[in-house]
Protein backbone atom coordinates (compact mmCIF):
# COMPACT_ATOMS: atom_id res chain seq x y z
CA UNK A 1 0.00 0.00 0.00
CA UNK A 2 3.02 2.29 -0.16
CA UNK A 3 1.98 3.81 -3.49
CA UNK A 4 -1.81 3.80 -3.63
CA UNK A 5 -2.06 5.90 -6.79
CA UNK A 6 -3.66 4.33 -9.81
CA UNK A 7 -2.23 5.11 -13.24
CA UNK A 8 -3.78 8.17 -14.83
CA UNK A 9 -4.87 9.68 -11.54
CA UNK A 10 -2.06 11.88 -10.35
CA UNK A 11 -2.28 13.06 -6.75
CA UNK A 12 -2.35 16.72 -5.81
CA UNK A 13 0.40 17.75 -3.44
CA UNK A 14 -0.31 20.32 -0.73
CA UNK A 15 2.25 21.84 1.61
CA UNK A 16 1.78 21.55 5.37
CA UNK A 17 3.89 24.43 6.62
CA UNK A 18 1.60 26.55 8.76
CA UNK A 19 -1.72 26.08 10.52
CA UNK A 20 -3.59 27.99 7.80
CA UNK A 21 -2.72 25.16 5.39
CA UNK A 22 -5.01 22.83 7.34
CA UNK A 23 -8.06 24.72 6.09
CA UNK A 24 -6.98 24.21 2.46
CA UNK A 25 -6.23 20.55 3.02
CA UNK A 26 -9.65 19.93 4.58
CA UNK A 27 -11.20 21.69 1.57
CA UNK A 28 -9.19 19.58 -0.91
CA UNK A 29 -10.15 16.32 0.82
CA UNK A 30 -13.78 17.43 0.93
CA UNK A 31 -13.77 18.08 -2.83
CA UNK A 32 -12.22 14.65 -3.54
CA UNK A 33 -14.63 12.88 -1.19
CA UNK A 34 -17.59 14.48 -2.95
CA UNK A 35 -16.16 13.64 -6.39
CA UNK A 36 -15.74 10.06 -5.25
CA UNK A 37 -19.32 10.01 -3.92
CA UNK A 38 -18.45 8.90 -0.42
CA UNK A 39 -21.48 8.97 1.87
CA UNK A 40 -21.88 12.09 4.00
CA UNK A 41 -20.70 10.30 7.15
CA UNK A 42 -17.71 8.81 5.32
CA UNK A 43 -16.83 12.24 3.88
CA UNK A 44 -16.92 13.69 7.37
CA UNK A 45 -14.74 10.89 8.74
CA UNK A 46 -12.18 11.21 5.93
CA UNK A 47 -11.90 15.01 6.26
CA UNK A 48 -11.61 14.76 10.04
CA UNK A 49 -8.90 12.05 9.82
CA UNK A 50 -6.99 14.19 7.31
CA UNK A 51 -7.24 17.20 9.60
CA UNK A 52 -5.82 15.22 12.54
CA UNK A 53 -2.95 13.79 10.50
CA UNK A 54 -2.09 17.12 8.83
CA UNK A 55 -1.88 18.72 12.28
CA UNK A 56 0.41 15.88 13.44
CA UNK A 57 2.64 16.46 10.40
CA UNK A 58 2.82 20.15 11.28
CA UNK A 59 3.29 19.89 15.05
CA UNK A 60 5.31 16.69 15.50
CA UNK A 61 6.90 16.35 12.06
CA UNK A 62 7.89 20.01 11.74
CA UNK A 63 5.84 20.35 8.55
CA UNK A 64 5.75 18.34 5.35
CA UNK A 65 3.32 17.58 2.55
CA UNK A 66 0.11 15.71 1.86
CA UNK A 67 -0.57 14.04 -1.49
CA UNK A 68 -4.22 13.29 -2.10
CA UNK A 69 -6.21 11.77 -4.92
CA UNK A 70 -8.70 9.18 -6.06
CA UNK A 71 -7.71 5.52 -6.09
CA UNK A 72 -9.27 2.32 -7.32
CA UNK A 73 -8.67 -1.34 -6.54
CA UNK A 74 -10.71 -4.51 -7.07
CA UNK A 75 -13.50 -2.51 -8.69
CA UNK A 76 -13.78 -0.18 -5.71
CA UNK A 77 -13.12 3.56 -5.71
CA UNK A 78 -11.77 5.56 -2.83
CA UNK A 79 -10.00 8.66 -1.62
CA UNK A 80 -6.38 8.39 -0.49
CA UNK A 81 -4.09 10.80 1.31
CA UNK A 82 -0.40 10.38 2.11
CA UNK A 83 1.11 12.59 4.84
CA UNK A 84 4.89 12.88 4.76
CA UNK A 85 7.37 14.66 6.96
CA UNK A 86 11.09 14.43 7.53
CA UNK A 87 10.81 15.11 11.25
CA UNK A 88 12.17 13.09 14.17
CA UNK A 89 10.06 10.00 13.39
CA UNK A 90 8.36 7.87 16.01
CA UNK A 91 10.47 5.56 18.19
CA UNK A 92 7.64 3.60 19.79
CA UNK A 93 4.83 3.16 17.27
CA UNK A 94 2.69 1.06 19.59
CA UNK A 95 2.78 3.78 22.23
CA UNK A 96 2.05 6.50 19.65
CA UNK A 97 -1.03 4.58 18.49
CA UNK A 98 -2.45 4.42 22.02
CA UNK A 99 -5.47 6.61 22.81
CA UNK A 100 -4.50 9.50 25.02
CA UNK A 101 -0.74 9.21 24.61
CA UNK A 102 0.96 12.35 23.33
CA UNK A 103 4.52 13.61 23.11
CA UNK A 104 3.23 17.15 22.72
CA UNK A 105 0.38 19.09 24.23
CA UNK A 106 -2.41 17.43 22.27
CA UNK A 107 -5.17 15.08 23.30
CA UNK A 108 -3.36 12.03 21.97
CA UNK A 109 -6.22 11.15 19.63
CA UNK A 110 -4.68 12.08 16.28
CA UNK A 111 -3.12 8.81 15.15
CA UNK A 112 -5.34 6.35 16.99
CA UNK A 113 -8.50 8.34 16.21
CA UNK A 114 -7.63 8.81 12.55
CA UNK A 115 -7.05 5.06 12.18
CA UNK A 116 -10.56 4.35 13.47
CA UNK A 117 -12.09 6.81 10.99
CA UNK A 118 -10.65 5.33 7.78
CA UNK A 119 -10.61 1.92 6.06
CA UNK A 120 -6.89 1.57 5.31
CA UNK A 121 -4.19 3.01 7.53
CA UNK A 122 -0.46 2.57 7.15
CA UNK A 123 2.26 4.16 9.26
CA UNK A 124 5.90 4.05 8.16
CA UNK A 125 8.40 5.67 10.48
CA UNK A 126 11.79 5.29 12.11
CA UNK A 127 13.69 7.51 14.55
CA UNK A 128 15.43 10.26 12.56
CA UNK A 129 13.80 9.22 9.28
CA UNK A 130 10.52 11.06 9.28
CA UNK A 131 6.99 9.70 9.23
CA UNK A 132 4.65 8.72 6.40
CA UNK A 133 1.00 7.98 7.06
CA UNK A 134 -1.26 6.69 4.28
CA UNK A 135 -5.03 6.60 4.66
CA UNK A 136 -7.79 5.45 2.31
CA UNK A 137 -11.57 5.61 2.59
CA UNK A 138 -13.39 3.33 0.12
CA UNK A 139 -16.85 3.89 -1.32
CA UNK A 140 -19.21 1.31 0.16
Amino acid sequence: MTAPWTAGEDPQVHPIARSGDLVHIRQAIRTLSQECRLSLVDQTKMITAASELARNTLIYGGGGTVSSGLVSANGKRGVAAVFEDSGPGIADVEQAMTDGWTSGGGLGLGLSGARRLVDDFQLVTAPGEGTTVTIIKWVR
Binding site: T48, R55, G106, L109
Partner: protein, 123 residues
Amino acid sequence: MSERLPILRIGDILLVSVQFDLEDQMVLNLQEDLANEIVAKSARGVVIDISALEIVDSFVGRMLATVAAISRVLDARTVVVGMRPAVAITLVELGLSLGGVSTALDLEKGLAKLRQPTSSALR
Protein backbone atom coordinates in the same frame (compact mmCIF):
# COMPACT_ATOMS: atom_id res chain seq x y z
CA MET B 1 -3.70 38.04 10.57
CA SER B 2 -6.05 37.58 13.50
CA GLU B 3 -9.63 37.39 12.30
CA ARG B 4 -12.11 37.11 15.13
CA LEU B 5 -15.61 35.76 15.30
CA PRO B 6 -18.30 38.20 16.42
CA ILE B 7 -19.81 37.50 19.85
CA LEU B 8 -23.43 38.64 20.11
CA ARG B 9 -25.22 39.36 23.36
CA ILE B 10 -28.90 38.70 24.10
CA GLY B 11 -29.65 39.72 27.69
CA ASP B 12 -27.16 37.81 29.81
CA ILE B 13 -26.43 35.21 27.14
CA LEU B 14 -23.50 35.37 24.71
CA LEU B 15 -24.03 33.86 21.28
CA VAL B 16 -21.41 32.75 18.79
CA SER B 17 -22.33 31.29 15.43
CA VAL B 18 -19.49 29.52 13.67
CA GLN B 19 -20.27 29.92 9.97
CA PHE B 20 -17.14 28.58 8.29
CA ASP B 21 -14.15 26.29 8.76
CA LEU B 22 -11.85 28.01 11.28
CA GLU B 23 -8.11 28.38 11.27
CA ASP B 24 -6.50 27.20 14.51
CA GLN B 25 -5.62 30.75 15.56
CA MET B 26 -9.27 31.85 15.22
CA VAL B 27 -10.28 28.92 17.42
CA LEU B 28 -7.82 30.03 20.10
CA ASN B 29 -8.94 33.68 19.76
CA LEU B 30 -12.55 32.64 20.27
CA GLN B 31 -11.67 30.83 23.48
CA GLU B 32 -9.96 33.94 24.84
CA ASP B 33 -12.60 36.41 23.61
CA LEU B 34 -15.40 34.39 25.21
CA ALA B 35 -13.62 34.30 28.59
CA ASN B 36 -13.16 38.09 28.44
CA GLU B 37 -16.74 38.74 27.31
CA ILE B 38 -18.26 36.53 30.04
CA VAL B 39 -16.62 38.75 32.65
CA ALA B 40 -17.08 42.07 30.79
CA LYS B 41 -20.81 41.48 30.18
CA SER B 42 -21.52 39.49 33.37
CA ALA B 43 -22.89 36.76 31.13
CA ARG B 44 -24.71 33.81 32.65
CA GLY B 45 -24.63 31.62 29.61
CA VAL B 46 -22.82 31.00 26.32
CA VAL B 47 -24.33 29.40 23.25
CA ILE B 48 -22.01 28.19 20.48
CA ASP B 49 -23.84 27.35 17.28
CA ILE B 50 -21.90 24.87 15.13
CA SER B 51 -24.74 23.93 12.75
CA ALA B 52 -22.76 25.21 9.76
CA LEU B 53 -19.65 23.18 10.62
CA GLU B 54 -19.08 20.18 8.37
CA ILE B 55 -16.34 18.78 10.54
CA VAL B 56 -15.17 19.12 14.14
CA ASP B 57 -11.70 17.71 14.69
CA SER B 58 -9.97 17.17 18.04
CA PHE B 59 -8.62 20.73 18.02
CA VAL B 60 -12.06 22.33 17.76
CA GLY B 61 -13.49 19.64 20.05
CA ARG B 62 -10.94 20.51 22.67
CA MET B 63 -11.81 24.21 22.32
CA LEU B 64 -15.49 23.43 22.98
CA ALA B 65 -14.56 21.45 26.09
CA THR B 66 -12.19 24.20 27.25
CA VAL B 67 -14.76 26.97 26.76
CA ALA B 68 -17.27 24.89 28.73
CA ALA B 69 -14.74 24.51 31.57
CA ILE B 70 -13.67 28.18 31.52
CA SER B 71 -17.28 29.39 31.61
CA ARG B 72 -18.01 27.09 34.55
CA VAL B 73 -15.12 28.63 36.47
CA LEU B 74 -16.50 32.09 35.59
CA ASP B 75 -20.00 31.20 36.87
CA ALA B 76 -21.55 30.82 33.43
CA ARG B 77 -22.75 27.80 31.46
CA THR B 78 -21.97 26.85 27.87
CA VAL B 79 -24.28 24.99 25.53
CA VAL B 80 -23.09 23.79 22.11
CA VAL B 81 -25.99 23.66 19.65
CA GLY B 82 -26.69 22.33 16.18
CA MET B 83 -24.11 19.58 15.82
CA ARG B 84 -24.72 17.64 12.61
CA PRO B 85 -25.34 13.88 12.94
CA ALA B 86 -22.28 13.02 10.79
CA VAL B 87 -20.13 15.24 13.00
CA ALA B 88 -21.45 13.55 16.16
CA ILE B 89 -20.72 10.07 14.75
CA THR B 90 -17.23 11.11 13.69
CA LEU B 91 -16.35 12.81 17.00
CA VAL B 92 -17.36 9.80 19.06
CA GLU B 93 -15.47 7.42 16.78
CA LEU B 94 -12.44 9.70 16.96
CA GLY B 95 -12.56 9.21 20.72
CA LEU B 96 -13.87 12.59 21.77
CA SER B 97 -17.21 12.25 23.50
CA LEU B 98 -17.26 15.83 24.90
CA GLY B 99 -18.30 14.52 28.31
CA GLY B 100 -18.23 17.88 30.09
CA VAL B 101 -19.97 19.81 27.33
CA SER B 102 -23.67 20.55 27.50
CA THR B 103 -25.40 20.29 24.10
CA ALA B 104 -28.77 20.97 22.51
CA LEU B 105 -30.13 20.16 19.06
CA ASP B 106 -30.82 23.76 18.05
CA LEU B 107 -30.53 27.35 19.22
CA GLU B 108 -34.04 27.44 20.70
CA LYS B 109 -33.47 24.29 22.77
CA GLY B 110 -30.06 25.62 23.80
CA LEU B 111 -31.52 28.86 25.12
CA ALA B 112 -34.23 26.91 26.93
CA LYS B 113 -31.56 24.77 28.55
CA LEU B 114 -29.81 27.87 29.87
CA ARG B 115 -33.06 29.09 31.43
CA GLN B 116 -33.41 25.90 33.47
CA PRO B 117 -32.09 25.85 37.03
CA THR B 118 -28.44 24.80 37.18
CA SER B 119 -28.99 21.40 38.76
CA SER B 120 -31.25 20.02 36.04
CA ALA B 121 -29.46 21.68 33.13
CA LEU B 122 -26.06 20.30 33.93
CA ARG B 123 -25.43 16.68 33.22
